[in-house]
């Protein structure tokens, strides 16, 4: 479980590219030569990161958009962010 500060912000890594296609998001990890596909919620989260929203703001956005409790939203969001950080798709701002 990540212990990121609620005010932590992230951005798409400078060598990665991201596009939303219909209801999913595509990361192209240029250095690794790999593609990551995230689902609709994942794509929404990355769009929030690109809009420079903090972790807390992203979680709030998810609870407003999807019928999910804040605790679950935070847990799932931090898990996804950990995965994306490990993959080199995003970095901390």
């Amino acid at each position: 479980m990540s212990t990121e500060a609620p005010t932590q912000r992230y951005r798409v890594d400078s060598h990665a590219r991201f596009r939303v296609m219909d209801d999913e998001g595509i990361f192209v990890l240029q250095d690794a030569g790999e593609v990551l596909v995230v689902n609709e919620v994942g794509a929404f989260i990355v769009e929030q990161l690109k809009a420079e929203r903090s972790l807390d703001e992203v979680v709030t956005g998810i609870t407003e958009r999807y019928a999910v409790e804040a605790e679950r939203a935070r847990s799932d969001t931090t898990a996804l962010l950990d995965d994306l950080l490990r993959a080199g798709a995003i970095t901390r701002s």
Binding site: V12, F18, R19, M21, D22, I26, V28, Q30, V37
Partner: protein, 354 residues
């Protein structure tokens, strides 16, 4: 959901994903089998039009952008176009002859454009063969030096080669050269007619012995060190790719090309204009071009036609664009596709993103 599923959905749903921009037909080399139609004319797209086009493509959600030519670096605004594309988050591929990508230019590409891939044209394993094709003495030595420079800067480089009568005797040496330079590669075993239908280029098509030698060399390499999936047959491998869509290819469905004069084409090989950027925005063309609708239907018809040939049709590597260039009929089987239908062998699919 895998990425291949995403691509198939793009085919099915007419979701524009990849765009190729032919920035110019100018080139600093003079390749004998260049496919560009140099007799084409018209009003070139301006820098502001390219910026508007890229903005529109980003709004449409386009992911992949290829910058090619001619020689794309010969375009006077190459870096302005490429850096604007980078700012919009495209995955950029640059298709170049590599001749101009020396120190400072290579560094600018790495730092300002940050492409996913630089594709260079390698016409032979020796200076004699490569320079014979480019008709520029010294071009091979310069290309090899430039590839080394690009690699040292951390650029991902891929070599594109076409199998011809001139290089078919050095195919093993070509593989050795790719390894020595540590580059990915793709060999097109088929010399194409020029975009205007001129078939004089076919005079240097590889011989049947050369084609066989190429297949043997590829097979030996695959056995040696390439990660492969061995399918029960070539047709089975192709079927796996084609499952989940009723189209033969993504021409006009998930990809388009744009020539230097603003003509929008269903793909780089299918030279039928579906609109012109001097008259319409690309989003309008994408949404409302009747010709584009016909192209999409033709890719379905091509699929149905090839399926009637059974497994042979699946392994023909048929291209409606090439068929159109050969005969004006995108559904007519042309000689190289016909030849492939009678060639059998074990299918090997290389696992690579390039």
């Amino acid at each position: 959901m895998s990425f291949s599923d995403t691509v198939k959905r793009a085919w099915n749903d007419n979701r524009l994903m990849s765009v190729l921009l032919e920035l110019t037909y100018a080139c600093n080399l003079d390749c004998s089998f260049c496919y560009n139609d140099l007799s084409l004319g018209g009003q070139r797209l301006s820098l502001s039009q390219y910026r508007e086009l890229l903005d529109d493509l980003a709004s449409l959600g386009v992911l992949n952008l290829s910058l090619t030519g001619g020689e794309p670096l010969a375009h006077p605004h190459f870096f302005e176009i490429a850096t604007h594309a980078r700012s919009l988050g495209f995955v950029i591929r640059i298709k170049t002859n590599g001749h101009a990508v020396r120190g400072a230019v290579a560094r600018r590409i790495r730092e300002e454009v940050d492409p996913f891939l630089v594709e260079v044209s390698v016409h032979g394993a020796t200076a004699a063969t490569h320079d014979r094709q480019t008709r520029v003495p010294g071009s091979f030595e310069r290309l090899v030096a430039n590839i080394r420079t690009m690699k040292s800067l951390g650029l991902r480089v891929k070599a594109n080669s076409v199998l011809t009568r001139w290089n078919e005797d050095e195919i093993e040496d070509l593989f050795a050269l790719y390894d020595q330079l540590d580059v990915a590669f793709q060999i097109d075993p088929e010399v194409k007619p020029r975009d205007d239908g001129d078939q004089s280029t076919l005079a240097i098509e590889a011989s049947s012995e050369g084609q066989a030698r190429y297949r043997r060399a590829l097979e030996a390499r695959a056995k040696r060190d390439v990660t492969v999936i061995e399918a029960p047959s070539p047709a089975a491998a192709r079927k796996a790719v084609m499952t989940g869509t009723d189209k033969h290819c993504g021409a006009g469905s998930n990809n388009i090309a744009v020539d230097p004069y603003g003509r929008v084409l269903p793909c780089v090989q299918w030279r039928v204009p579906v609109g012109n950027l001097h008259e319409q925005r690309v989003s309008e063309i994408w949404a409302a071009s009747g010709t584009l609708d016909e192209i999409r239907e033709t890719t379905k018809a091509a699929r149905r036609k090839l399926e009637r040939f059974g497994d042979a049709g699946l392994v023909s590597n048929f291209c409606p664009g090439a068929a159109h260039t050969y005969s004006g009929d995108p559904l007519a089987i042309y000689p190289p596709a016909e030849q492939r239908m009678v060639v059998s062998g074990r299918a090997r699919v290389r696992l690579t993103v390039v």
